[in-house]
């Protein structure tokens, strides 16, 4: 067996101190297989060693939370015995190396996290960040990532109903591909990963093991440099067909009571699945690698333990139920093998070719994994309000903003995803939150992903708070009650004190907002070391959120429905232009303070709006976010193909800050004048800032004293950029 040298230890991403800790825990030097196992289990990706300490601060409980962080995904109670299971996860590094397969396997991985708990996936989301459009790699990456997400999700027959796309130079060398999966299960039939009890068979299900992505988990925890494109490990290729069979087979097995524990094989495959199951169940696991279905000849124990071949699961069954399970997996033409047994030793014992090749205490891999309270250096958040040229045309700016890469329509993206399969998509991409009916009922889930990285860069605390608030607001804007959050914390190198500060402040911001909004975090994922040549990405704590709507027929959409409706602005407008889209796109500067979020006002305004929708008084609502009031208004007009006449209202007489400021906690509503008047009065009585901006109608947006612009012109601007940019796309060569 390979001699372990300091170089080998380093190549495994372990520090000298960590290696010394391993020796202490083992009471001897590890062998090569054991070193490999430690390296993946102690990687940032699996151990959360830099963030664990801070993640503890997040609120994770509420009466409706059935399962918080710690399992494959979080679970909430949505009434009537139904449960909703969801999680978001990153596949950033693999997608940069091989965009199609990286994104596809990201989708496959997050789906397994959800269906391993007994849920049928019912909706997918994706939050994508690419480098600037002019960067030579960007177009190719966009093309590959989007077709990879579609290629996998479409084949699975799960609708991809929304997401986000941003472009910024901070992602030039480090794109972000975060995928979220939402599933439905019965609350009394949820599967966990604790392999309780000794003497139970450990079974392997799904695809055969090959030499795929060995060291993917350690790679995801290391910085890139220019040489790493050469040092790539074998990239995993996704097989959505097998995953679809695996999904159906697992759900069929889960309808029996044969399973004690089940867990997908994600990063670090067999190693992390077996160690985690043993750890959670307080038991030991003994595996015989000769029994593992193998795709390639002469695989070593090291390779098998570290392989990241996709579409695989590990389960612990009740003794005697193997044949029943095998019958199900054979029907679905999947590999099935009993590869081991649970023990009472709390050790992970790996046998190969008749000998023991690894034998280590499971707690050393989990509980005893290092946790770092890394040093951080508090920076001063950006402050101040940027200057602007008050003479610029408000309407010309609108055209320009709507056709900018970050603000234009994402139709080019979502039309490559099947968003209507499963016949429950009540609100398609293009609205505030996707709405997916719970099959066979009248209730529905509202789903969104949000974060504004430019705010987080300027002020990680306020930016992270804002991400949560915006997600909450998007769910509210369709008329649903926000229930819980999953997060995907994408940051740079935590060993740099200024980055560590972003992480700490970001987590604090999420915590503050989630507490105030009663919006617990039930699952999440950290992706650190998103840096290239020492340059970190914008801090990007993406928030995925789910809400519940009791009656899907009482739902609001962004589209104007009728001419003659009054347009109501809920929430206070101060004209905050710091870090705004306006100043970036029109003045060409990224400047000023991130907009602060007043969480109390946020909650008050949102609860007010939601009630109006629930009561069937409002069917048209849109939250005000990127680009401010005028952009939100234009989106509503375009969606309904009905124009509007509006003017500045309230105490901010200046047009540019009024229309383009990004003050938080605001909504635009539209309703017939009599309804609107009542709402106006009720809002004032409740102490909610409210203003009537004008009315819907016509084929243009007309702004008092500022001019007008035709919807057709706005539409061309809004729909034009993405297809035009991508027309230079290379062909996606598929079979």
């Amino acid at each position: 067996m390979t001699q372990i040298t300091p170089d080998i230890v380093r190549e495994h991403g372990l520090s000298e101190e960590e290696y010394a800790r391993i020796i202490r825990l083992m009471n001897r030097e590890p062998n090569f297989v054991e070193l490999g196992i430690f390296s993946v289990m102690w990687s940032e990706h699996c151990s959360y060693k830099s963030t664990r300490f801070h993640l503890r601060k997040l609120p994770t409980k509420a009466p409706w939370v059935l399962q918080g962080p710690g399992e494959n995904a979080g679970v909430i109670d949505i009434g009537d015995g139904d449960a909703c299971i969801f999680k978001m996860e990153s596949h950033n590094h693999p997608s940069f190396i091989e965009p199609y397969q990286g994104a596809a396997t990201g989708v496959g991985g997050i789906m397994r996290d959800v269906f391993t708990m007994g849920a049928r996936p019912v909706a997918m989301m994706n939050a994508l960040r690419f480098g600037e459009p002019s960067h030579p790699k960007t177009r190719h990456l966009v093309s590959g990532v989007v077709s990879g997400i579609g290629g996998y999700g479409n084949c699975m027959g799960v609708p991809t109903v929304g997401g986000e796309v941003n472009f910024h130079r901070s992602y030039n060398g480090n794109i972000l591909v975060n995928a979220m999966c939402v599933g439905l299960a019965r609350a009394d039939n949820i599967f966990l990963s604790a392999a309780k009890g000794a003497g139970n068979p450990v079974v392997y299900i799904g695809s055969k093991t090959g030499r795929d992505g060995i060291h993917g988990a350690t790679m995801a925890s290391a910085e890139f440099d220019d040489a790493s494109e050469e040092k790539r490990p074998t990239v995993q290729v996704g097989d959505p067909f097998t995953e679809k069979l695996l999904l159906e087979a697992c759900l069929e097995l889960m309808a029996t009571d044969a399973i004690i524990a089940i867990q997908d094989m994600g990063a670090a495959g067999l190693t992390s699945s077996s160690a985690e199951m043993g750890d959670k169940g307080g038991s030991g696991i003994e595996l015989d690698l000769d029994k593992v279905p193998q795709r390639e000849a002469n695989m070593t124990a090291y390779e098998m333990m570290l392989s990241e071949s996709q579409e695989r699961m590990l389960a612990v069954l009740k003794p005697g139920r193997e044949a029943e399970a095998e019958r199900i997996f054979k029907k679905w033409e999947l590999d099935f093998a009993v590869i081991g047994i649970t023990t009472d030793t709390k050790r992970l014992v790996i046998k190969h070719h008749g000998g023991v090749v690894a034998d280590l205490p499971i707690t050393a891999l989990s509980d005893e994994a290092p946790v770092y309270e890394r040093a951080y250096e508090t920076q001063r958040p950006k402050s101040g309000q940027p200057k602007f040229d008050a003479k610029k045309s408000v309407t010309d700016s609108l055209v320009k903003i709507l056709s900018s890469p970050d603000m234009c329509s994402r139709r080019w993206v979502w039309e490559q995803y099947d968003y209507t399969v499963m016949a429950d998509t009540a609100q398609q991409p293009g609205g505030d939150a996707a709405v997916v009916r719970v099959h066979g009922t009248n209730k529905a889930l509202a789903i969104t992903t949000d974060v504004s990285p430019r705010y987080c860069k300027a002020d990680p605390f306020e930016g992270a708070k804002q991400a949560v608030a915006e997600a909450w607001r998007n769910i509210t804007a369709v008329g649903a009650r926000p229930l819980a959050v999953t997060d995907n914390l994408n940051f740079g190198n935590p060993q740099k004190p200024e980055i560590m500060w972003q992480i700490v402040a970001g987590i604090d911001g999420i915590g503050a907002a989630c507490c105030a909004l009663d919006f617990p975090v039930i699952s999440g994922n950290c992706s650190l070391y998103n840096e290239t040549n020492g340059e970190g990405i914008h801090p990007t704590p993406a928030i995925g959120a789910v809400g519940l709507m009791a009656n899907v027929h009482r739902m609001a959409t962004v589209a104007f429905k009728r001419p003659g409706d009054a347009i109501i602005l809920i929430g206070e407008t101060r004209g905050h232009l710091g870090q705004s889209i306006y100043v970036r796109e029109i003045e060409g500067r990224e400047e000023g303070a991130a907009p602060p979020v007043d969480l109390a006002a946020e909650k008050k305004n949102g609860d007010f709006v939601r009630k109006l929708i629930e009561d069937g008084r409002i069917d048209t609502a849109h939250d005000v976010s990127d680009g401010g009031v005028l952009v939100a208004l234009a989106e509503m007009a375009l969606a309904g193909n009905i124009g509007a006449e509006v003017g500045v209202a309230g105490e901010t007489p200046e047009a540019i800050p009024f229309f383009y400021g990004e003050d938080q906690g605001r909504y635009l509503l539209a309703a017939p004048p009599d309804v609107a008047d009542k709402i106006d009065q009720e809002a004032e009585k409740s102490g909610i800032v409210v203003a009537l901006l004008g009315k819907t109608g016509g084929d243009k947006i007309a702004i008092a004293r500022e001019g007008e612009v035709l919807l057709s012109k706005l539409r061309k601007a809004h729909e034009g950029w993405f297809p035009a940019y991508m027309s230079g796309e290379e062909v996606p060569l598929t079979n």
């Binding site: 790539r232 290729v237 067909f241």
Partner: protein, 80 residues
């Protein structure tokens, strides 16, 4: 001059398509079929009569576009 380019997955890279085809062929009663690998073939017409130059140019096409060298390898065949 004509060129034929074969683009196939590198050894060790999972080939879901080949796997499914093999499985289907077995199911159809072709028991003698073992491993199956699927790939692409691209036929190019080139306005270039110098074989040396043609090959160099096709190689560049493969590297730049035709093959995804992260997971695929390629072979080039030239015909006059």
């Amino acid at each position: 001059m004509k060129a034929r380019v074969f683009v196939t997955l590198k050894n060790g890279v999972l080939d879901p398509q080949g796997k499914a085809i093999g499985h289907a062929l077995n199911g159809l009663g072709f028991g003698a079929v073992g491993d199956v690998r699927a790939g692409k073939v691209i036929d190019l017409e080139l306005h270039e009569s110098n074989a040396e130059k043609a090959r160099a140019s096709v190689k560049e096409m493969c590297e730049k576009l035709l093959a995804n060298t992260v997971i695929e390898k390629y072979e080039i065949e030239l015909k006059a």
